[in-house]
């Protein structure tokens, strides 16, 4: 893609609008009917299938693939959604290469797994395109549950509770629902406003009210929710960003990667979104990759992701790392930032090499400097301020196996809660499981 704008600093329109559009098209295009049948036929219908065990939501993958193969993708979708109501989004964003597809026997045998994610998308898209919602609500229980956060955990919890007959009010801090599905995932993974469409589809079960711009600790308090509702589920995610703790972090064009990703997702026109000519991303997770790759796709001339430990320690999967390299992003490992340079605006970032000695990261004397117009910090997020009464574990809300917190009638799940990976699919599983425990508690079944 030819560079049209080599201006230093941060500015929009670095490449032609058509190139931007092409760059942000679907990473994994949807299957047509025949492709889906051919892909489905590769499934061996394994006994006690490893893929199913690897799925945090335990979707019966061999069954749904067989349902696709026999021409009933709607039934396949029901199989998926029974376990994971956000199966449509998970089909797009799950790191399948480290979950179901990693353990697919055909991956083990041939290095070419059944494309479970794309098949799941085919099934769920087929059902959603038909405008069908395959779940109905049970008789009303008269119980009211508050859900904090309209992200994957909150929505999964709310849907399951509504299905079981409870009335649900979701308190969402932002102006839109979806959580990281809406604000936090690379645009090429979920195109065509899918997060909002899925949200609308999910809500069509009824019995769920979402109240926007209602942040916990501001418009609503946990005490108040406990008073007004029979149960509370906390699924507000991680609202704060870790700092580099370096001088110069307040310079212009130094910002959290999550903000850049959210801006990108919310932009009506990507060609008007400014990006640096030379971009540096600090971090080694999915957020770092999503920010780096998207900066490159927007037209940044030079993008470098710098991670302080070795490549093997990167949280981003091999697939994501390869994707970044394939898009022209440079990955530097074993280097940590030691200086942010520039006069008002960012000009360069200086790094020191690192080494791991006896499991401890040691910063070496040797340094190098990368010229940079824009710096994204992607070194992790953390929980926002929580009520003192809520017990924490490792910086997250402590929960037991049933997602219960230390407070009576308060459950939590998703990224804000302890346990599990910070993945959409894990959040869905936790929200769903919390709903089942809330239901059991409210109906006296346990």
């Amino acid at each position: 893609m030819p560079q049209t704008n080599r201006e230093n600093g941060v500015s929009p329109g670095r490449i032609a609008p058509a190139d931007v559009q092409a760059n942000f098209s679907d990473l994994h295009p949807e299957y047509d009917d025949h492709e889906a049948l051919v892909a489905a036929d590769r499934c061996y219908f394994c006994h006690d299938a490893p893929c199913m065990t690897a799925c945090p939501t335990s979707i019966d993958i061999p069954l749904f693939i067989r349902q696709i193969a026999t021409g009933t993708p709607e039934a396949a979708a029901k199989t998926i959604l029974d376990q994971n109501i956000l199966g449509g989004m998970c089909a797009r964003v799950c790191p399948t290469e480290t979950l179901c597809e990693e353990v697919c026997v055909r991956e083990v045998a041939e290095g070419k797994p059944v494309e479970i994610g794309r098949l799941q998308r085919y099934a769920t898209d087929t059902l959603m395109a038909a405008g069908k919602h395959p779940f109905t609500r049970a008789d009303a229980t008269g119980k009211k549950v508050a859900v904090v956060g309209a992200g994957p955990a909150g929505l999964a919890c709310a849907h399951r509770l509504a299905m079981l007959g409870h009335d649900v009010v979701v308190f969402e801090a932002r102006v839109k629902g979806g959580g990281l599905n809406e604000f936090g995932i690379a645009a090429y993974k979920t195109t065509n406003d899918f997060a909002q469409k899925e949200l609308d589809w999910l809500l069509s079960i009824g019995g769920i009210e979402i109240r926007y711009e209602q942040a916990l600790g501001q418009s609503v308090t946990l005490d108040g929710l406990q008073d007004d509702f029979d149960a509370v589920f906390l699924g507000m995610g991680l609202s704060a960003v870790n700092a580099l703790r370096l001088e110069g972090e307040d310079k212009d064009n130094v910002s959290p990667a999550v903000d850049f990703i959210a801006d990108l997702r919310q932009a009506d026109d990507l060609t008007t979104l400014p990006v640096g000519r030379r971009v540096v991303v600090i971090g080694g997770g999915m957020t770092a990759i999503d920010a780096g790759v998207q900066a490159k796709l927007l037209g940044a001339e030079d993008v470098t992701i710098v991670y302080r430990r070795g490549q093997e320690a990167m949280a981003a999967s091999k697939f994501e790392q390869d994707l970044a390299r394939q898009k022209g992003v440079r990955l530097i490992c074993n280097a940590t930032p030691v200086g942010i340079e520039g006069n008002g605006s960012l000009r360069a970032v200086t790094f020191a090499y690192t080494e791991t000695r006896d499991g401890k990261l040691v910063t070496l004397d040797e340094t190098f400097t990368l010229p940079a117009d824009q710096l994204f910090k992607a070194i992790g997020q953390k929980l926002g301020d929580m009520p003192d009464a809520l017990a924490l574990d490792g910086g997250k809300i402590a929960v037991d196996a049933a997602q219960k917190t230390n407070l009576a009638h308060v459950w939590a799940g998703g990224d804000c809660a302890s346990g599990g990976d910070d993945l959409t699919v894990t959040a869905v599983a936790e929200g769903r499981d919390a709903a089942m425990d809330i239901h059991a508690t409210l109906t006296g079944a346990s």
Binding site: H34, L37, D41, C46, H47, A49, P50, V105, A109
Partner: protein, 434 residues
Amino acid sequence: MADLTSNFLGIKSPNPFWLASAPPTDKEYNVRRAFEAGWGGVVWKTLGAEGPPIVNVNGPRYGAIHGADRRLLGLNNIELITDRPLEVNLEEMTRVKKDYPDRALIASVMVPCEEDEWKRIIPRIAETGCDGFELNFGCPHGMAERGMGSAVGQVPEYIEMVTRWCKEATDLPVIVKLTPNITSILNPAQAAKDGGADAVSLINTINSITNVDLDLMAPEPTIDGKGTHGGYCGPAVKPIALNMVAEIARNPGTHGLPISGIGGVTTWRDAAEFMALGAGNVQVCTAAMTYGFKVVQEMISGLSQWMDEKGYTSIDEVVGRAVPNVTDWQYLNLNHVTKARIDQEACIKCGRCYAACEDTSHQAISMSDDRVFDVKDDECVACNLCVNVCPVEGCITMETIAPGAVDERTGKVVEKEYANWTTHPNNPTATAAE
């Protein structure tokens, strides 16, 4: 390099691959293309009596069964015999034979079951220069309703009678094409032989309904809301055809009667299998209809390579080679004991063998927590189901237990001597072993 030249009933062709009487051989245009592509011979699409031409339906004529990726596994048709005037076909056959003297050209014939009809048309067709005749006693649809095709093939007396008429009407070789829509293939084959047939060809198509349109609630192919049974062919019918060929080849009364093998021949290997069971050559239709005439080139190169590898120098060395090994169940060696063996290196841990054995067989495969699958010799009856359902070729095999070793399932020492059901103590009609 192996000699693929075929001499079937004295009819010579450069290879044993003939196109069967069917749509691919209905016209001069198609047949010329077939010969250019390398086919050794063709059986021209069945000719009928002179008079108003046959009428075909104007809706779909074919139905199909598909495997993965729409691989065509079975095809059925309701097309009748040639619907072109007899004279046109005869002229075209004459021209083609003249231009391709080294290829076999056989005339397939089907006329009403009357002596003068057959005796009038046979000499007339012979004037084309054709190399022989094939009597179509096989087609199970349409023409059978009019007392022809399989309606004749299902009555051995008619087969014998018509065959005799034709033999009286010509000196050229007469092949009788048999229908599989009968209880035993031996009776029609014997009748053909008794009537003086030079050979039989089989199988013709099998009566079938391939699919039901669940919206129309009508069988496919559907003509204006209705459907009828058609003739089934293609890879799916090969096992049925192989058995019928083998039955004729090993039956004392019909052993030695030349056979032209038909039924799902798709690759060189299929052809070799038919020939091993006694077919002197093979006829192909569905493979050509699916992939075009070019497929014969793979059949030729594959058969040639395999024969070279095995040291066979001519087709005759292959024909009938497996026939002595086709026997009755009662003669199978009950002292031959095998056990399934799973190659753990090749195993991809899908667990299909376990599910198949545990749910539907003898609970003879164990599964560990880390998905290692092992055969329990004390339960394994060597049914072979695990071998068949395993997606990895060669991963599960059957190991023969050496005589002297103990079969853990029965606790008995495996005996060296051959022993079958006829002498087994559990057999009430057992004859005492000598």
